[in-house]
Symmetry: C2
Amino acid sequence: MKSATRPYHHGNLRQELLRAAEAALEARGVQQLSLRELSRELGVSHASPQRHFPTKQDLLNALATAGFQRFDSIAAKAAAASGQNFHARLTKVALAHLGFALKHPALLALMFEAKRQPAMPPELLTALHAAFSHIPRILKEGQDAGKIVPGDPYRLALTIGAVVQGLVAISIDGKIKGDSLKVIVPEILGHVLNGLGTSKLKA
Amino acid sequence: MKSATRPYHHGNLRQELLRAAEAALEARGVQQLSLRELSRELGVSHASPQRHFPTKQDLLNALATAGFQRFDSIAAKAAAASGQNFHARLTKVALAHLGFALKHPALLALMFEAKRQPAMPPELLTALHAAFSHIPRILKEGQDAGKIVPGDPYRLALTIGAVVQGLVAISIDGKIKGDSLKVIVPEILGHVLNGLGTSKLKA
DNA sequence: ACCTGAACACCGTTCAAGT
DNA sequence: ACCTGAACACCGTTCAAGT
Protein backbone atom coordinates (compact mmCIF):
# COMPACT_ATOMS: atom_id res chain seq x y z
CA MET A 1 0.00 0.00 0.00
CA LYS A 2 1.55 3.18 -1.26
CA SER A 3 -0.42 5.48 0.96
CA ALA A 4 -2.78 5.07 3.87
CA THR A 5 -4.60 8.33 3.14
CA ARG A 6 -7.32 8.12 0.56
CA PRO A 7 -7.88 11.44 -1.16
CA TYR A 8 -11.22 13.18 -1.05
CA HIS A 9 -11.26 13.09 -4.81
CA HIS A 10 -11.46 9.59 -6.10
CA GLY A 11 -9.56 10.78 -9.13
CA ASN A 12 -10.71 8.06 -11.45
CA LEU A 13 -14.33 7.65 -10.56
CA ARG A 14 -15.71 7.93 -14.09
CA GLN A 15 -13.48 5.15 -15.40
CA GLU A 16 -14.06 2.95 -12.39
CA LEU A 17 -17.80 3.37 -12.63
CA LEU A 18 -17.74 2.25 -16.25
CA ARG A 19 -15.54 -0.71 -15.43
CA ALA A 20 -17.65 -1.80 -12.46
CA ALA A 21 -20.85 -1.21 -14.40
CA GLU A 22 -19.75 -3.47 -17.26
CA ALA A 23 -18.75 -6.20 -14.84
CA ALA A 24 -22.09 -5.96 -13.06
CA LEU A 25 -23.91 -5.85 -16.40
CA GLU A 26 -22.40 -9.12 -17.59
CA ALA A 27 -22.71 -10.74 -14.18
CA ARG A 28 -26.24 -9.79 -13.21
CA GLY A 29 -27.95 -8.14 -16.20
CA VAL A 30 -29.11 -4.60 -16.94
CA GLN A 31 -32.26 -5.02 -14.91
CA GLN A 32 -30.21 -5.55 -11.76
CA LEU A 33 -27.63 -2.85 -12.40
CA SER A 34 -27.88 -0.27 -9.63
CA LEU A 35 -25.97 2.99 -9.28
CA ARG A 36 -26.13 2.73 -5.53
CA GLU A 37 -24.62 -0.73 -5.59
CA LEU A 38 -21.77 0.46 -7.83
CA SER A 39 -21.13 3.35 -5.44
CA ARG A 40 -21.00 0.97 -2.50
CA GLU A 41 -18.59 -1.29 -4.37
CA LEU A 42 -16.27 1.66 -5.09
CA GLY A 43 -16.58 3.06 -1.59
CA VAL A 44 -18.10 6.40 -2.57
CA SER A 45 -21.35 8.05 -1.68
CA HIS A 46 -24.42 7.06 -3.62
CA ALA A 47 -24.74 10.57 -5.07
CA SER A 48 -21.23 10.72 -6.48
CA PRO A 49 -21.98 9.20 -9.91
CA GLN A 50 -24.24 12.13 -10.76
CA ARG A 51 -21.36 14.49 -11.53
CA HIS A 52 -20.06 12.08 -14.18
CA PHE A 53 -23.34 10.61 -15.38
CA PRO A 54 -26.27 12.93 -14.70
CA THR A 55 -28.66 10.02 -15.10
CA LYS A 56 -28.48 6.26 -15.15
CA GLN A 57 -29.26 6.30 -18.86
CA ASP A 58 -26.15 8.44 -19.39
CA LEU A 59 -24.03 5.70 -17.82
CA LEU A 60 -25.67 3.09 -20.04
CA ASN A 61 -25.08 5.28 -23.11
CA ALA A 62 -21.43 5.75 -22.20
CA LEU A 63 -21.14 1.98 -21.79
CA ALA A 64 -22.74 1.42 -25.19
CA THR A 65 -20.53 4.03 -26.87
CA ALA A 66 -17.36 2.47 -25.47
CA GLY A 67 -18.69 -0.90 -26.59
CA PHE A 68 -19.16 0.28 -30.17
CA GLN A 69 -15.65 1.75 -30.18
CA ARG A 70 -14.07 -1.52 -29.05
CA PHE A 71 -16.27 -3.38 -31.48
CA ASP A 72 -15.13 -1.07 -34.29
CA SER A 73 -11.45 -1.67 -33.64
CA ILE A 74 -11.95 -5.44 -33.67
CA ALA A 75 -14.00 -5.31 -36.86
CA ALA A 76 -11.46 -2.98 -38.48
CA LYS A 77 -8.69 -5.49 -37.82
CA ALA A 78 -10.76 -8.33 -39.26
CA ALA A 79 -11.58 -6.26 -42.34
CA ALA A 80 -8.01 -5.11 -42.88
CA ALA A 81 -6.88 -7.86 -45.28
CA SER A 82 -6.81 -6.36 -48.75
CA GLY A 83 -6.98 -9.46 -50.90
CA GLN A 84 -9.56 -10.14 -53.56
CA ASN A 85 -11.23 -12.94 -51.61
CA PHE A 86 -14.21 -10.90 -50.48
CA HIS A 87 -16.08 -13.95 -49.30
CA ALA A 88 -13.28 -14.73 -46.84
CA ARG A 89 -12.97 -11.13 -45.66
CA LEU A 90 -16.70 -10.81 -45.03
CA THR A 91 -16.64 -14.07 -43.13
CA LYS A 92 -13.80 -12.78 -40.96
CA VAL A 93 -15.70 -9.64 -40.05
CA ALA A 94 -18.78 -11.70 -39.28
CA LEU A 95 -16.78 -14.05 -37.06
CA ALA A 96 -15.24 -11.06 -35.27
CA HIS A 97 -18.72 -9.73 -34.63
CA LEU A 98 -19.82 -13.09 -33.33
CA GLY A 99 -16.73 -13.44 -31.14
CA PHE A 100 -17.45 -10.09 -29.52
CA ALA A 101 -21.05 -11.13 -28.98
CA LEU A 102 -20.10 -14.34 -27.22
CA LYS A 103 -17.52 -12.59 -25.03
CA HIS A 104 -19.75 -9.67 -24.05
CA PRO A 105 -23.34 -10.76 -24.61
CA ALA A 106 -24.97 -8.37 -22.17
CA LEU A 107 -22.92 -5.43 -23.46
CA LEU A 108 -23.90 -6.15 -27.05
CA ALA A 109 -27.54 -6.41 -26.04
CA LEU A 110 -27.19 -3.05 -24.30
CA MET A 111 -25.59 -1.59 -27.44
CA PHE A 112 -28.54 -2.66 -29.56
CA GLU A 113 -30.96 -1.44 -26.95
CA ALA A 114 -29.20 1.92 -27.01
CA LYS A 115 -29.80 2.10 -30.75
CA ARG A 116 -33.52 2.11 -30.14
CA GLN A 117 -33.43 5.29 -28.08
CA PRO A 118 -35.50 8.20 -29.38
CA ALA A 119 -32.74 10.76 -28.80
CA MET A 120 -29.33 9.18 -29.29
CA PRO A 121 -26.26 11.07 -28.02
CA PRO A 122 -24.02 12.13 -30.95
CA GLU A 123 -20.94 10.21 -29.71
CA LEU A 124 -23.01 7.06 -29.64
CA LEU A 125 -24.18 7.69 -33.20
CA THR A 126 -20.62 8.30 -34.38
CA ALA A 127 -19.25 5.17 -32.72
CA LEU A 128 -22.14 3.15 -34.13
CA HIS A 129 -21.58 4.34 -37.69
CA ALA A 130 -17.88 3.56 -37.50
CA ALA A 131 -18.55 0.05 -36.19
CA PHE A 132 -20.94 -0.70 -39.06
CA SER A 133 -18.85 0.81 -41.85
CA HIS A 134 -16.69 -2.22 -42.63
CA ILE A 135 -19.11 -4.56 -44.35
CA PRO A 136 -20.45 -1.97 -46.81
CA ARG A 137 -16.88 -0.92 -47.59
CA ILE A 138 -15.81 -4.48 -48.43
CA LEU A 139 -18.95 -5.00 -50.49
CA LYS A 140 -18.17 -1.83 -52.44
CA GLU A 141 -14.67 -3.10 -53.15
CA GLY A 142 -16.14 -6.41 -54.24
CA GLN A 143 -18.51 -4.67 -56.61
CA ASP A 144 -15.67 -2.62 -58.09
CA ALA A 145 -13.85 -5.90 -58.70
CA GLY A 146 -16.96 -7.40 -60.27
CA LYS A 147 -17.25 -10.13 -57.66
CA ILE A 148 -20.38 -8.93 -55.89
CA VAL A 149 -23.81 -8.26 -57.37
CA PRO A 150 -24.48 -4.59 -58.15
CA GLY A 151 -26.74 -2.42 -55.98
CA ASP A 152 -26.45 -0.03 -53.06
CA PRO A 153 -23.76 -1.56 -50.83
CA TYR A 154 -25.52 -0.32 -47.70
CA ARG A 155 -28.62 -2.17 -48.76
CA LEU A 156 -26.66 -5.33 -49.51
CA ALA A 157 -24.91 -4.95 -46.17
CA LEU A 158 -28.29 -5.21 -44.50
CA THR A 159 -28.48 -8.79 -45.72
CA ILE A 160 -25.22 -9.72 -44.09
CA GLY A 161 -25.85 -7.57 -41.05
CA ALA A 162 -29.20 -9.25 -40.61
CA VAL A 163 -27.71 -12.72 -40.81
CA VAL A 164 -24.90 -11.90 -38.43
CA GLN A 165 -27.14 -10.21 -35.90
CA GLY A 166 -29.51 -13.12 -36.14
CA LEU A 167 -26.67 -15.57 -35.62
CA VAL A 168 -25.65 -13.57 -32.59
CA ALA A 169 -29.11 -13.91 -31.11
CA ILE A 170 -29.16 -17.62 -31.83
CA SER A 171 -25.61 -18.23 -30.58
CA ILE A 172 -26.13 -16.39 -27.32
CA ASP A 173 -29.34 -18.25 -26.73
CA GLY A 174 -27.18 -21.35 -26.83
CA LYS A 175 -29.00 -22.90 -29.75
CA ILE A 176 -25.64 -23.44 -31.41
CA LYS A 177 -23.29 -25.31 -29.18
CA GLY A 178 -19.72 -24.13 -28.59
CA ASP A 179 -17.23 -25.33 -31.16
CA SER A 180 -19.72 -26.14 -33.88
CA LEU A 181 -20.00 -22.39 -34.36
CA LYS A 182 -16.83 -22.42 -36.43
CA VAL A 183 -18.48 -24.94 -38.73
CA ILE A 184 -22.02 -23.63 -38.85
CA VAL A 185 -21.32 -19.93 -39.24
CA PRO A 186 -19.23 -20.18 -42.43
CA GLU A 187 -21.80 -22.63 -43.75
CA ILE A 188 -24.69 -20.25 -43.14
CA LEU A 189 -22.77 -17.25 -44.40
CA GLY A 190 -21.82 -19.34 -47.41
CA HIS A 191 -25.48 -19.74 -48.28
CA VAL A 192 -25.97 -16.02 -48.04
CA LEU A 193 -22.81 -15.01 -49.87
CA ASN A 194 -23.70 -17.45 -52.63
CA GLY A 195 -26.82 -15.37 -53.06
CA LEU A 196 -24.77 -12.17 -53.33
CA GLY A 197 -21.98 -13.43 -55.57
CA THR A 198 -22.07 -12.69 -59.30
CA SER A 199 -20.91 -16.20 -60.16
CA LYS A 200 -24.37 -17.52 -59.32
CA LEU A 201 -26.29 -14.61 -60.72
CA LYS A 202 -27.82 -16.11 -63.82
CA ALA A 203 -27.71 -19.80 -63.02
CA MET B 1 -73.53 1.17 -16.23
CA LYS B 2 -75.00 -2.17 -15.25
CA SER B 3 -74.24 -1.91 -11.59
CA ALA B 4 -73.02 0.80 -9.25
CA THR B 5 -71.59 -1.71 -6.79
CA ARG B 6 -68.13 -2.95 -7.59
CA PRO B 7 -67.49 -6.42 -6.18
CA TYR B 8 -64.66 -7.09 -3.76
CA HIS B 9 -63.32 -9.58 -6.23
CA HIS B 10 -62.18 -7.91 -9.39
CA GLY B 11 -63.08 -11.13 -11.18
CA ASN B 12 -60.83 -10.61 -14.13
CA LEU B 13 -57.69 -9.18 -12.60
CA ARG B 14 -55.25 -11.60 -14.20
CA GLN B 15 -56.45 -10.83 -17.71
CA GLU B 16 -56.65 -7.11 -17.08
CA LEU B 17 -53.14 -7.05 -15.66
CA LEU B 18 -51.80 -8.73 -18.78
CA ARG B 19 -53.71 -6.37 -21.03
CA ALA B 20 -52.61 -3.26 -19.15
CA ALA B 21 -49.04 -4.54 -18.90
CA GLU B 22 -48.78 -5.05 -22.64
CA ALA B 23 -50.15 -1.58 -23.31
CA ALA B 24 -47.68 -0.05 -20.85
CA LEU B 25 -44.88 -2.16 -22.30
CA GLU B 26 -45.40 -0.85 -25.82
CA ALA B 27 -46.05 2.69 -24.63
CA ARG B 28 -43.25 3.19 -22.15
CA GLY B 29 -40.87 0.23 -22.36
CA VAL B 30 -40.04 -2.67 -20.01
CA GLN B 31 -37.79 -0.52 -17.92
CA GLN B 32 -40.69 1.73 -16.93
CA LEU B 33 -43.24 -1.03 -16.40
CA SER B 34 -44.33 -0.96 -12.77
CA LEU B 35 -46.68 -3.31 -10.98
CA ARG B 36 -47.77 -0.50 -8.68
CA GLU B 37 -48.66 1.69 -11.63
CA LEU B 38 -50.69 -1.11 -13.22
CA SER B 39 -52.51 -1.62 -9.93
CA ARG B 40 -53.33 2.09 -9.72
CA GLU B 41 -54.59 2.05 -13.30
CA LEU B 42 -56.90 -0.87 -12.54
CA GLY B 43 -58.03 0.57 -9.21
CA VAL B 44 -56.76 -2.27 -7.04
CA SER B 45 -54.30 -2.37 -4.20
CA HIS B 46 -50.62 -2.58 -5.08
CA ALA B 47 -50.33 -6.01 -3.49
CA SER B 48 -53.15 -7.58 -5.50
CA PRO B 49 -51.06 -8.74 -8.49
CA GLN B 50 -49.09 -11.11 -6.24
CA ARG B 51 -51.84 -13.72 -6.10
CA HIS B 52 -51.78 -14.01 -9.92
CA PHE B 53 -48.11 -13.30 -10.58
CA PRO B 54 -45.95 -14.07 -7.54
CA THR B 55 -43.19 -11.93 -8.96
CA LYS B 56 -42.79 -9.30 -11.65
CA GLN B 57 -40.82 -11.77 -13.75
CA ASP B 58 -43.81 -14.11 -13.69
CA LEU B 59 -45.92 -11.38 -15.26
CA LEU B 60 -43.26 -10.81 -17.93
CA ASN B 61 -43.07 -14.54 -18.61
CA ALA B 62 -46.84 -14.78 -18.96
CA LEU B 63 -46.71 -11.84 -21.38
CA ALA B 64 -43.97 -13.54 -23.40
CA THR B 65 -45.83 -16.88 -23.46
CA ALA B 66 -49.03 -15.24 -24.71
CA GLY B 67 -46.93 -13.41 -27.28
CA PHE B 68 -45.44 -16.64 -28.62
CA GLN B 69 -48.90 -18.20 -28.82
CA ARG B 70 -50.27 -15.31 -30.87
CA PHE B 71 -47.13 -15.33 -32.96
CA ASP B 72 -47.56 -19.05 -33.59
CA SER B 73 -51.13 -18.70 -34.83
CA ILE B 74 -50.09 -15.95 -37.25
CA ALA B 75 -47.13 -17.93 -38.53
CA ALA B 76 -49.27 -21.07 -38.86
CA LYS B 77 -51.70 -19.18 -41.11
CA ALA B 78 -48.87 -17.86 -43.26
CA ALA B 79 -47.35 -21.34 -43.55
CA ALA B 80 -50.66 -23.04 -44.36
CA ALA B 81 -50.50 -22.83 -48.17
CA SER B 82 -49.60 -26.29 -49.42
CA GLY B 83 -48.26 -25.48 -52.87
CA GLN B 84 -44.85 -26.47 -54.16
CA ASN B 85 -43.55 -22.89 -54.22
CA PHE B 86 -41.47 -23.17 -51.08
CA HIS B 87 -39.69 -19.90 -51.75
CA ALA B 88 -43.03 -18.06 -51.65
CA ARG B 89 -44.23 -19.90 -48.54
CA LEU B 90 -41.04 -19.18 -46.64
CA THR B 91 -41.27 -15.53 -47.65
CA LYS B 92 -44.84 -15.40 -46.36
CA VAL B 93 -43.83 -16.77 -42.96
CA ALA B 94 -40.95 -14.31 -42.80
CA LEU B 95 -43.23 -11.39 -43.65
CA ALA B 96 -45.69 -12.54 -40.99
CA HIS B 97 -42.87 -12.59 -38.47
CA LEU B 98 -41.82 -9.12 -39.54
CA GLY B 99 -45.38 -7.82 -39.44
CA PHE B 100 -45.75 -9.00 -35.86
CA ALA B 101 -42.45 -7.38 -34.99
CA LEU B 102 -43.48 -4.01 -36.37
CA LYS B 103 -46.87 -4.14 -34.67
CA HIS B 104 -45.55 -5.25 -31.26
CA PRO B 105 -41.87 -4.35 -31.14
CA ALA B 106 -41.56 -4.15 -27.37
CA LEU B 107 -43.43 -7.42 -26.90
CA LEU B 108 -41.18 -9.24 -29.36
CA ALA B 109 -38.11 -7.83 -27.64
CA LEU B 110 -39.51 -9.10 -24.35
CA MET B 111 -40.13 -12.51 -25.92
CA PHE B 112 -36.51 -12.77 -27.01
CA GLU B 113 -35.33 -11.52 -23.66
CA ALA B 114 -37.42 -14.21 -22.01
CA LYS B 115 -35.60 -16.81 -24.10
CA ARG B 116 -32.35 -15.85 -22.41
CA GLN B 117 -33.62 -16.75 -18.96
CA PRO B 118 -31.66 -19.42 -17.10
CA ALA B 119 -34.81 -21.25 -15.91
CA MET B 120 -37.56 -20.95 -18.48
CA PRO B 121 -41.12 -21.88 -17.43
CA PRO B 122 -42.33 -24.95 -19.37
CA GLU B 123 -45.36 -23.19 -20.93
CA LEU B 124 -43.00 -20.57 -22.34
CA LEU B 125 -40.80 -23.27 -23.79
CA THR B 126 -43.78 -25.03 -25.36
CA ALA B 127 -45.17 -21.85 -26.89
CA LEU B 128 -41.72 -20.97 -28.20
CA HIS B 129 -41.18 -24.33 -29.87
CA ALA B 130 -44.57 -24.17 -31.56
CA ALA B 131 -43.89 -20.67 -32.88
CA PHE B 132 -40.59 -21.74 -34.43
CA SER B 133 -41.78 -25.03 -35.91
CA HIS B 134 -43.09 -23.70 -39.23
CA ILE B 135 -39.94 -22.84 -41.12
CA PRO B 136 -38.22 -26.20 -40.47
CA ARG B 137 -41.41 -27.98 -41.48
CA ILE B 138 -41.60 -26.14 -44.82
CA LEU B 139 -37.91 -26.74 -45.44
CA LYS B 140 -38.42 -30.45 -44.81
CA GLU B 141 -41.26 -30.54 -47.34
CA GLY B 142 -39.04 -28.68 -49.79
CA GLN B 143 -36.28 -31.22 -49.33
CA ASP B 144 -38.71 -34.09 -49.86
CA ALA B 145 -39.73 -32.40 -53.11
CA GLY B 146 -36.07 -31.96 -54.08
CA LYS B 147 -36.31 -28.18 -54.15
CA ILE B 148 -34.18 -27.39 -51.12
CA VAL B 149 -30.58 -28.39 -50.44
CA PRO B 150 -30.20 -31.47 -48.21
CA GLY B 151 -29.17 -31.22 -44.54
CA ASP B 152 -30.78 -31.00 -41.14
CA PRO B 153 -33.83 -28.76 -41.65
CA TYR B 154 -33.43 -27.28 -38.18
CA ARG B 155 -29.93 -26.23 -39.05
CA LEU B 156 -31.04 -24.74 -42.36
CA ALA B 157 -33.87 -22.99 -40.56
CA LEU B 158 -31.26 -21.20 -38.49
CA THR B 159 -30.15 -19.42 -41.65
CA ILE B 160 -33.61 -18.10 -42.36
CA GLY B 161 -34.38 -17.49 -38.71
CA ALA B 162 -31.18 -15.51 -38.41
CA VAL B 163 -31.99 -13.37 -41.41
CA VAL B 164 -35.52 -12.72 -40.28
CA GLN B 165 -34.57 -11.90 -36.72
CA GLY B 166 -31.83 -9.63 -38.07
CA LEU B 167 -34.32 -7.94 -40.36
CA VAL B 168 -36.58 -7.45 -37.39
CA ALA B 169 -33.82 -5.69 -35.49
CA ILE B 170 -33.01 -3.53 -38.47
CA SER B 171 -36.63 -2.73 -39.30
CA ILE B 172 -37.54 -1.76 -35.76
CA ASP B 173 -34.48 0.42 -35.54
CA GLY B 174 -36.03 2.26 -38.44
CA LYS B 175 -33.13 1.64 -40.77
CA ILE B 176 -35.58 0.43 -43.37
CA LYS B 177 -38.27 3.01 -43.99
CA GLY B 178 -41.94 2.05 -44.05
CA ASP B 179 -43.21 0.82 -47.37
CA SER B 180 -39.87 -0.13 -48.83
CA LEU B 181 -39.98 -3.14 -46.50
CA LYS B 182 -42.24 -4.93 -48.95
CA VAL B 183 -39.55 -4.45 -51.59
CA ILE B 184 -36.42 -4.99 -49.55
CA VAL B 185 -37.45 -8.01 -47.53
CA PRO B 186 -38.26 -10.29 -50.47
CA GLU B 187 -35.06 -9.08 -52.10
CA ILE B 188 -32.91 -9.97 -49.10
CA LEU B 189 -34.71 -13.25 -48.53
CA GLY B 190 -34.26 -13.93 -52.22
CA HIS B 191 -30.51 -13.71 -51.80
CA VAL B 192 -30.66 -16.16 -48.94
CA LEU B 193 -33.10 -18.58 -50.52
CA ASN B 194 -30.99 -18.57 -53.67
CA GLY B 195 -28.25 -19.93 -51.46
CA LEU B 196 -30.53 -22.69 -50.18
CA GLY B 197 -32.19 -23.71 -53.45
CA THR B 198 -30.95 -26.75 -55.35
CA SER B 199 -31.30 -24.98 -58.68
CA LYS B 200 -28.20 -22.93 -57.89
CA LEU B 201 -26.29 -25.69 -56.18
CA LYS B 202 -23.68 -26.52 -58.80
CA ALA B 203 -23.58 -23.33 -60.82
C1' DA C 1 -59.74 -17.88 -3.15
C1' DC C 2 -58.90 -13.15 -3.64
C1' DC C 3 -57.84 -8.64 -2.11
C1' DT C 4 -56.16 -4.82 1.36
C1' DG C 5 -52.97 -1.93 4.20
C1' DA C 6 -48.98 -1.41 6.55
C1' DA C 7 -44.21 -2.43 6.63
C1' DC C 8 -39.46 -3.40 4.85
C1' DA C 9 -35.58 -2.88 2.16
C1' DC C 10 -34.44 -1.19 -1.74
C1' DC C 11 -34.13 2.37 -5.91
C1' DG C 12 -32.83 7.11 -8.91
C1' DT C 13 -32.52 11.91 -8.46
C1' DT C 14 -32.08 16.49 -6.21
C1' DC C 15 -29.76 19.76 -3.50
C1' DA C 16 -27.50 22.30 0.02
C1' DA C 17 -23.25 21.81 2.04
C1' DG C 18 -18.53 20.52 2.54
C1' DT C 19 -13.35 20.15 0.59
C1' DA D 1 -14.39 20.63 -9.78
C1' DC D 2 -15.69 16.82 -7.15
C1' DC D 3 -17.86 14.47 -3.43
C1' DT D 4 -21.13 13.92 0.84
C1' DG D 5 -25.49 13.35 3.55
C1' DA D 6 -30.07 14.02 4.03
C1' DA D 7 -34.39 14.14 1.76
C1' DC D 8 -38.04 12.93 -1.68
C1' DA D 9 -40.79 10.12 -4.37
C1' DC D 10 -40.78 6.07 -6.09
C1' DC D 11 -40.11 0.64 -6.43
C1' DG D 12 -40.99 -5.01 -5.55
C1' DT D 13 -42.13 -8.13 -2.08
C1' DT D 14 -43.96 -9.92 2.36
C1' DC D 15 -47.51 -10.72 5.54
C1' DA D 16 -51.18 -10.43 8.76
C1' DA D 17 -55.76 -9.32 8.29
C1' DG D 18 -60.11 -8.71 6.12
C1' DT D 19 -64.19 -10.59 2.85
